[in-house]
């Protein structure tokens, strides 16, 4: 009985996949899509960095998948390292040069990371790159000034908040203009900081989330 039902479900699934694939037109000019992105991307999104307009608008759903994968990776690492309670017996204090350099460089690196993801729609870079730069700043601070720690609670709150805001912006797009993650806000003047509709908002959210997540991974590994 169970086997028959699962067989029927499998057949239905296969037919569904067949019809879904049959709708894709093969053999057409493959450059058509990229031509559309290059020619119409600026008009449709008001974003000068075409990579950003592809990553966050045309392929926004994939980006949601990417940040989910990162989130699951961070959770999995926490799960694996949960039992490890190796006490750090002898922490060598950082040398004077490293400690001073870290104190001086840490705010600058944070600022650079924030700059990269806030300007993601104007210049090369974006949420992932800015987040990685922020995380490397935290890495430096862990090595240099080992007493300073960000709280694990803060990491968790920022992580969940980032993911939730991303999904909420997507749902607002669904509400206002009919499809998920559509650019429903006004585009503004091209080449100014506040332009491009939801894209800068999404990149700020992604940047915070990625930065905090990678910093959390380093934190978990160093404990």
């Amino acid at each position: 009985m169970r086997k028959t039902i699962s067989f029927i479900l499998l057949v239905i699934l296969l037919i569904g996949i067949y019809y879904a694939i049959a709708q894709v037109h093969y053999g057409e000019n493959k450059m058509e899509v990229s031509k559309h992105y290059i020619n119409e991307g600026l008009k449709e999104n008001g974003v000068t960095n075409i990579v950003t307009s592809v990553v966050l608008n045309y392929r926004g759903f994939d980006t949601l998948g990417e940040i989910t994968i990162l989130f699951i990776g961070a959770i999995g690492l926490g799960l694996v390292l949960f039992g490890f309670e190796t006490k750090r017996k002898d922490i060598m204090p950082a040398s004077l040069i490293l400690a001073t350099g870290c104190r001086f460089l840490f705010p600058l690196i944070l600022l650079l990371g924030i700059y990269i993801f806030v300007h993601g729609h104007l210049t090369p870079g974006g949420g992932f790159q800015g987040g990685a730069v922020i995380a490397s700043g935290f890495l430096l601070s862990y090595i240099g000034c080992s007493k300073k720690r960000i709280s694990e609670k803060g990491i968790n709150i920022l992580e969940s908040l980032g993911g939730t805001i991303f999904i909420l912006i997507g749902l607002l797009g669904l509400l206002f203009s009919g499809y998920y993650l559509s650019n429903f806000l006004p585009k503004g003047t091209i080449n100014t900081l506040i332009s491009g509709g939801i894209i800068p908002l999404l990149y700020i959210v992604i940047g915070l989330k990625v930065g905090v997540e990678l910093a959390g991974i380093i934190y978990k590994l160093m404990e």
Binding site: P124, Q129, A132, S136, L139, L214
Partner: protein
């Protein structure tokens, strides 16, 4: 410019082979970080600054650090068992 890029590619190839062959794990990780760094420079020359940034920050800095921590952790565990 072409000579510079060719030189970088050659160094990168040598580094990649070395990081596979070398026995010491820590050295292998450091060499892999250097390979990542050169890859990011090459991405920049290929006019992909977005990818270059991601590669420099993630490939060269974070991955190397995470591997070093992982090596340190696993080695510590093994030593405790041996004792």
């Amino acid at each position: 410019m072409m000579i510079f890029i060719t030189l970088l590619v050659i160094i990168m190839l040598i580094g990649a082979i070395c990081s596979c062959i070398i026995k010491d794990l820590l050295s292998a990780v450091i060499i892999a970080g250097v390979v990542s760094l050169i890859a990011s420079i090459l991405f920049y020359f290929l006019q992909a600054p977005d990818v270059a940034m991601a590669e420099a920050a993630i490939g060269a800095a974070l991955t190397t650090a995470i591997f070093v921590f992982a090596i340190k952790k696993t080695k510590g565990k093994k030593d405790e068992k041996d004792d």
